[in-house]
Symmetry: C2
């Protein structure tokens, strides 16, 4: 017997109201207790996960998906360590800002409060379950989780552990709920639950994001799709540029902040491109060569094929790199405007004026000068944790950490003030 989506929503709202004014120490204690629980009593979780893995293997899931799905003691310990890190971060809730006394004597300020209830729709990774639960608890929000059907047993065990720990800490267990019915109709119901849910956070591929955007009556944080660019300007330190591009492409090619397209200034293309291709081909990279780059490529290079019409609009998530030559900075900026998803784009240059123009005119969540796009990450940028990387423009852009899971209320105190 599964709980109706509406009931889940009502319970989440009620829990959120209670959690919104839980003291920081109480939330921190619950997070630490959850970490301990995962470290010392993870047996039922691993058993449930083992069943998921068996079923997935029987269903013929590929090795990459099986790997994502699998938990073991080491991974649980890693998840627990992440929880302790989040527990140790400062609590953004309650922060007072923009305080002012108005000319009429009214005292106004804004106070940071939780967003309320968020719905998270995600795919195979069971670690997301604890990740989101921890961030929700820390920021005083309630979370409604809808994971992939392959992880249903794992998620049930994980959420059960979370709820027990929350309740033992004197907090409302309905702060974290799982929609544990694999029926796809439940996702639609969640997306229509605007009375109870304040924001939808999809974590998955472009198809999931599109589905949420097209069907949600609740604002959706679109993100995590990165067609990322680095532009090698004529003045770039070419050895450094090569190192940065290699890092952005090769270090972890399957993630959204990995590089997709290298744009190279025509003046340095003859020197730089053959070096780039030789170096990265040795790492296993293959290249899609745009028409203007073609003349600079050694004829018949085995790692290079001409770019197809969709190639500069593809997030590769693999060891493939698009390559294009541009005549100048304007052309680089125009290419990025036409093809970027607004995630992470950068310039490699020694010219301050070019760097300034690039930063002014490239309209991405994170704009880089002389650094790898791989730094677009809540941990790397000092947020301590992240719930998503937003590529939409409302509320937050780029990595969303604890503060981005809050909003404010105005608090206004007067002496029986009336409006004239």
């Amino acid at each position: 017997m599964t709980t109706s989506t509406r009931t889940i929503g009502e319970r989440a709202r009620a829990a959120a109201r209670q959690l919104a004014h839980a003291p920081s120490e109480q939330k921190t204690r619950a997070l630490v207790a959850l970490a301990e629980r995962l470290e010392t009593a993870g047996a039922e979780i691993l058993e449930a996960n083992g069943q998921d893995v068996l079923a997935a293997r029987a269903a013929g899931l590929g090795p990459a998906l099986l790997d994502r799905l699998t938990l073991d003691a080491t991974r649980l310990a890693g998840i627990a360590a992440d929880l302790r890190r989040v527990a140790a971060l400062p609590d953004p809730v309650g922060e007072v800002f923009d305080a002012t006394t108005l000319p009429n004597g009214l005292r106004a300020h804004k106070r940071r409060v939780p967003l309320g209830v968020f719905g998270v729709i995600y795919e195979a990774r069971p670690n997301v379950t604890i990740d989101i639960a921890g961030l929700a608890l820390k920021t005083g929000n309630a979370a409604i989780l809808r994971g992939g059907s392959e992880t249903l047993r794992s998620n049930r065990a994980l959420v059960e552990a979370v709820r027990q720990v929350i309740a033992a800490g004197g907090l409302p267990p309905d702060a974290v709920q799982l929609i544990d019915d694999p029926d796809r109709a439940r996702v639609l119901e969640l997306l229509h639950l605007h009375e109870y849910v304040d924001v939808i956070i999809p974590r998955g591929g472009a198809g999931l994001h599109r589905f949420c955007r097209e069907n949600s009556r609740i604002p959706v944080i679109t993100g995590g799709i990165g067609i990322c660019h680095l532009f090698v300007d004529a003045s770039a330190d070419l050895a450094g540029a090569l190192a940065v591009i290699r890092n952005a492409k090769v270090q972890r090619p399957t993630v959204c902040n990995a590089l997709d397209t290298a744009l190279v200034h025509r003046e340095v293309a003859g020197v730089f491109l053959p070096r780039l291709i030789d170096a990265l081909a040795a790492d296993g990279v293959t290249f899609r060569i745009g028409p203007s780059a073609q003349p600079f490529i050694p004829a018949g290079h085995p790692a290079c094929t001409p770019a197809g019409p969709e190639d500069f609009d593809t997030e590769w998530l693999s060891l493939v790199l698009g390559v294009q030559v541009v005549d100048n900075l304007d052309e680089a900026i125009a290419h990025i405007a036409a093809h970027s998803t607004g995630h992470s784009d950068g310039i490699l240059t020694r010219d301050d004026a070019s760097a300034r123009r690039f930063v002014d005119e490239v309209d991405s969540a994170v704009v880089y000068v002389n650094a790898s796009t791989r730094f677009t990450d809540g941990g790397q940028l000092g947020l301590g944790a992240e719930v998503a990387i937003s590529t939409q423009r409302l509320h937050a852009r780029g990595p969303m950490g604890l503060r981005e899971l809050t909003i404010y209320k105005w608090v206004i105190a007067g002496d029986l003030h009336v409006r004239p």
Copy 2:
């Protein structure tokens, strides 16, 4: 021949890219030029408006709607004065904040940038057209306007004037575009234009907000619907409480921050309620009396009727006031949690502990202590202008001024940093 919604979107995006780095002085000059244009060359606008008014009168529109629709030289001068005020406000675009140097030496900061493109769907008031155009221009955003069909001629003339002035100022006229086709299907098209439009701002009644929420693929700023409460605590200064409630109810009853329900602590209900009812009845207020308040009402008072089941969930927008008696602060907070739209709610008290608990636990965009709800207004709260009053929880709550029409991008500079 009308322009397709998609083409309008493309043009808006292109204009937004250009406007995003227009210098403040250039934007200010255009705003001042627009004010001058309205003051000195409003004849075509007034003529077009006269035709709208004639047509509306022929179609049998009521006097309130006709009044909203009508422009004259005085109103144009008022609109121009508002534009000059917006022109004089500081430009939020370009502000740098959260600057930091990370342990690895990366320099990161956030830079305030325009939201991008917003779509505004509104009803009869032609002043909204200039209001939104001015705010968009000031904040470097492009706006796509969809006004009511009764104001089509006025809006065409107004937008034409706006575009001429923008172009004369060397800025892209497509920063302000009107969907001037009265076909309702165009609204749906606008709501589906997520590639080009970043946020939808409905300005109108609950029905319009619902329509936008249910049909939009773009985040919607829901707001402007205020079921507002004031709670008279046992310790309240009763004469002051009466003055505040009168102001909140009577000063301008047709707006969203006007009072809808007075909650009165049982301890003072016997003294306070008869005074409240006598005083406000003299202003023409009628009352919907909740069951718990009934015993405190003079029998057969002509201004009082028992509250019906929907009355505490109604935004009155008129001289009607719901009245309920509660046993204590908890009951007041619970009533507000059940019935408020999260716009503006307040407590009247001399007890600091009660004030603190009310402010902590009432989850509205603006929470008041000892002041009228009528202060929820961008002008009153020092924002200088407002585009909407948000009652949703993402991005901004309460009055949205210039800063709330912006977002940020991350700017990260390194010395050829790579991620380890």
